[in-house]
């Protein structure tokens, strides 16, 4: 359950990467949000919106050009590598691609022991059994290699690795978008069950408003490196206040031919009447004030 304790605060984050001819590209342009303990906040947006970069900046994998990121009140952006390594037990990650996020030459057990060994936790091997159990993999899985598992099972291994150090926050970067739809459903359930059991908070990054609606407490919609809209999940997903969110919502096809036909017509009408640039701002709609 979300509490009021603020775990992670991102304030005016700016990320620039060096561009061509000595210039720079601003990927994140003044993003602020916070994440409470036990909460799920989703960052949703399309390619180029900067959602993945925010996650990587929080993990220390992307440079923070300006602004700050703090964890439990302490700044963690641009800190030395030694401090960053201590954060391993607080902030963890599940990446999108369960194929390249697991080293193919290591057994599942050695993948799961690695974070424990790095943190100097004793009795790593005994914990592995517990972790495998927590993510719904058989105990015998530890002796096998990643290639022996399906995509969904690999993603469970990656989730177990993220859980190993009992972190307070897990950054989930499109963790289900490489999975089949039935597998996605079971993995999303697993995320929810683990949150209920451990009280971990998720920063859930996705391009899919529907997935995000299913798992989040709050949603932040990103458009070209800025937050277009942030608010309670159901409200953002179903009654958006921003033009861009509305377009995202209308573009997502629904598995029902009749409803989809209606939505298609709504979408075409919206595009015909709405502003040309979806980044333009708040949506004028009756009943929303």
């Amino acid at each position: 359950m979300p509490t009021t304790e603020r775990l992670l605060e991102v304030h005016d984050l700016v990320v620039r990467f060096p561009g061509r001819r000595g210039g720079s590209i601003t990927v994140i342009d003044g993003v602020s949000f916070d994440l409470a303990a036990g909460e799920t906040l989703s960052l949703v947006g399309e390619s180029g919106s900067g959602k993945t970069t925010i996650g990587r900046a929080i993990l220390g994998l992307a440079p923070v050009t300006d602004g700050s990121i703090s964890f439990r009140g302490e700044t963690i952006s641009n800190v030395p590598r030694s401090r960053r390594r201590k954060l391993a037990s607080d902030i963890q990650v599940v990446f999108q691609d369960p194929y390249s996020s697991l080293n193919p030459s290591m057994t599942v057990e050695s993948i799961l022991v690695e974070p424990l060994a790095a943190a100097g936790v004793e009795g790593g091997r005994a914990r592995v059994r517990h972790l495998l159990d927590a993510v719904g993999l058989p105990a015998g899985a530890g002796q096998r290699y990643p290639r022996e598992f399906s995509g969904g099972q690999r993603q469970r291994v990656a989730i177990a690795r993220a859980l190993a150090l009992e972190p307070a926050v897990i950054v989930c970067d499109e963790p289900t978008s490489a999975l089949d739809v039935t597998t996605q459903a079971t993995v999303l359930s697993l995320f929810k069950d683990l949150q209920a059991a451990t009280g971990v908070a998720y920063l859930f990054i996705s391009h899919d408003l529907g997935v995000v609606n299913e798992i989040s407490d709050r949603i932040a919609v990103l458009y070209q490196g800025r937050i277009a809209e942030i608010g309670e999940a159901h409200q953002v997903a179903t009654r958006p206040r921003h033009e861009y969110t509305h377009r995202l919502q209308m573009a997502a096809p629904v598995a029902d031919p009749r409803k989809q036909r209606e939505r298609r017509e709504q979408r075409l009408a919206l595009l015909a009447t709405g502003p040309h640039d979806p980044g333009i701002g708040p949506l004028a709609r009756k009943g929303d004030t």
Partner: protein
């Protein structure tokens, strides 16, 4: 959707596939390869001889027997004869192998230490070290090696280990370049990012994750470096830069060479030993790269073996051949039908069948959705209608009929149909455009390959069609390269290319999966309009039920290589009969915005 047969199989959490024989040590794998085993045996023998030289030739390499001066082979006591100083050639070769082994070890140790470590550091940390190291590497590589070694002789006198150490330095750049380029790739792998996030030190990341990736290439490279080292050692000794009092293969060769008019046989033995050892090392390198990188090459079957496998699979199935009447589509309106199609992949024990007898009819103007999860075989069917299955795939039976003609039976018919009467829209728009040609050049080339017409005519038609598929400045876009346009635009270009030859049917393999959702909506709209305008039939392969609901008229649901349910789109969403379809639908609806 992957077309790798290994991943075929239901997604079943908790029931992982049976444990396969996993990793064997490199040596173990090498011993199973006949070439590798033979090479290893030979090299082991050389090392053994070098180590046991004091027992094999207790008299030492420099005992002279004047009676044996320039003795031919098979002289009593001197099986390979004697040299110009009356020394036994066999004994000298035995002792010479010691120096050869030492020389090779020195070269490998020096070059691996320098090259691999510098490559790891430069690739992993980049920055200033990489700049300096790469500059030094370039300088070293531009030095003439053998000249440097001769110059060194002036400084150190005859000192083979020192010369070999210098040669190690000179050859280290080959390791540096190899390792650095691999590390540059590996450092961006997600598992390296994950290792950083779980708090591993850089030393452990490099030691555990990065070193593993460079291991195989370094081992393979070492085999070739050793071969080069033997050649260089022999060459340096032969030029007289070795210690004349010592024995090495090169010195034996030099001594024999000087007396070649008196005893030609004596040249043969050292030359043979040197050549054979170099050859062995090169062959070992090839065997190593076969063993360590075998997954990179797919195993292609001989036509005979393919034929035998297909015949065996046919016998196993024991079905009557499809009657001729069944080959005709169920109605005149059918453009494309697939009949009893079975596709398999060769495995160690025979054939793994991944598509088990699928039937499919597509009528004129119909958009037929083929839905299923990864491994269901849906892309296999799409690829077989285009004749673009992976090369190792086996068509075990069945027919693909275009207006009643079996495309699978005659590759010329398939060639005539593909790209002309059957268009293709791929999943990854970017990788299906050639980065070195402009959009216009590839579209014109493609169109003129299907229909003879002048370049100008082709251009004119394509510009018109590009405008039709929603590209606002077609003339300008024709002049752009693929990297200058977005993914959505690239997909429109490919759609333009697919419809340009005016096909009867289009096979679209997950055409919107790689696109953003807002772009997806536009592309779906375009496909709908094109189908309506041109009476174009379409096979739409997808895993996304929302896309199916949006676009399709008929739906076939696939699971494990079979079509489990087929109905028109309204019926399948309203009242799915099969439990699997129901499960797909409920999983899908759970993550969709049903009510807004």
């Amino acid at each position: 959707m992957t077309i790798n047969p290994e991943t075929v199989g239901p997604e079943a959490v908790g029931s992982a596939p049976a444990v396969q024989p996993v990793k064997r040590s490199v040596i173990g794998q090498l011993l199973r390869n006949p070439q590798g085993a033979a090479c290893l045996a030979y090299l082991a023998l050389v090392v053994l001889i070098a180590v046991s030289a004091p027992w094999l030739a207790p008299a030492g390499p420099n005992v002279t027997d004047l009676a044996a001066t320039n003795a031919p082979p098979l002289t009593a006591g001197h099986p390979l004869g004697g040299d110009s100083a009356g020394r036994d050639i066999l004994d000298r070769l035995i002792w010479g192998s010691r120096q050869t082994v030492v020389a090779v070890l020195v070269v490998v140790v020096v070059s691996v230490l320098l090259g691999v470590i510098a490559g790891l550091v430069a690739g992993f940390y980049r920055g200033r070290f990489e700049l300096v190291a790469s500059f030094v590497t370039d300088v070293i590589m531009s030095l003439p090696g053998i000249v440097l070694l001769i110059a060194l002789y002036a400084l150190t006198g005859p000192n083979i280990p020192a010369a070999m150490a210098v040669f190690g330095v000179l050859i280290a750049p080959t390791y540096y370049r190899l390792v650095r380029s691999i590390v540059l790739g590996v450092r961006n792998e997600l598992y390296v990012d994950a290792a950083r996030v779980v708090g591993l030190s850089d030393l452990r990341i490099v030691g555990r994750h990065v070193l593993w990736a460079v291991r195989a290439p370094v081992i393979i490279q070492s085999s070739f470096v050793m071969a080069a080292a033997i050649g260089i050692e022999a060459g340096v000794s032969f030029l007289g830069l070795g210690d004349p009092a010592g024995a090495s293969w090169g010195i034996v060769l030099q001594t024999s060479f000087n007396a070649i008019y008196n005893n030609a046989w004596a040249v043969l033995w050292p030359a043979l030993v040197i050549s054979l050892t170099i050859l062995t090392l090169v062959l070992l390198g090839n065997a190593l790269s076969d063993v360590l990188q075998s997954s990179a090459r797919s195993k292609l079957l001989s036509p005979r073996r393919r034929h035998a496998l297909v015949a065996a699979a046919d016998r196993a199935k024991k079905t009557a051949p499809v009657a001729d009447s069944a080959l005709v589509g169920s109605s005149d309106d059918v453009v494309l039908s697939v009949r009893d199609l079975r596709i398999g992949y060769p495995t160690a024990g025979g054939v793994d069948e991944v598509v088990h007898g699928v039937d499919l009819d597509v009528r004129r103007g119909e958009i037929h959705g083929l839905v299923g999860e990864s491994g269901s075989g849906k892309s296999q069917i799409a690829f077989s209608t285009l004749g673009i299955l992976p090369r190792e795939a086996l068509i075990l039976g069945g027919h693909v009929l275009l207006d009643g003609e079996d495309l699978l039976a005659d590759s010329r018919l398939m060639l005539a149909a593909r790209g002309r009467r059957i268009g293709y829209i791929p999943q990854e728009p970017m990788s299906n455009l050639d980065p070195s040609f402009t959009i216009g050049a590839q579209l014109v080339y493609g169109l003129r390959a299907t229909r003879p017409m002048s370049k100008g005519e082709a251009r004119r038609r394509l510009v018109e069609l590009l405008a039709r598929v929603g590209i606002t400045e077609p003339e300008r876009v024709m002049r752009l390269y693929p990297h200058q346009i977005s993914g959505g635009m690239a997909q429109r270009v490919l759609i333009c290319g697919a419809v340009a030859s005016d096909p009867d049917i289009i096979v679209a393999d997950e055409p919107t999966t790689a696109l953003d959702v807002t772009v997806q909506a536009e592309v779906l709209e375009l496909l709908r309009e094109l189908s309506r305008e041109r009476g174009l039939a379409m096979i739409l392969v997808t895993h996304n039920l929302g896309v199916v609901a949006d676009l399709c008229d008929t739906v076939s649901v696939m699971k494990d290589g079979r079509i489990v349910e087929r109905a028109d789109v309204e019926a399948i969403f309203e009242s799915p009969r099969q439990a699997y379809t129901q499960q797909l639908l409920s999983s899908s609806r759970r993550v969709e915005l049903m009510e807004i």
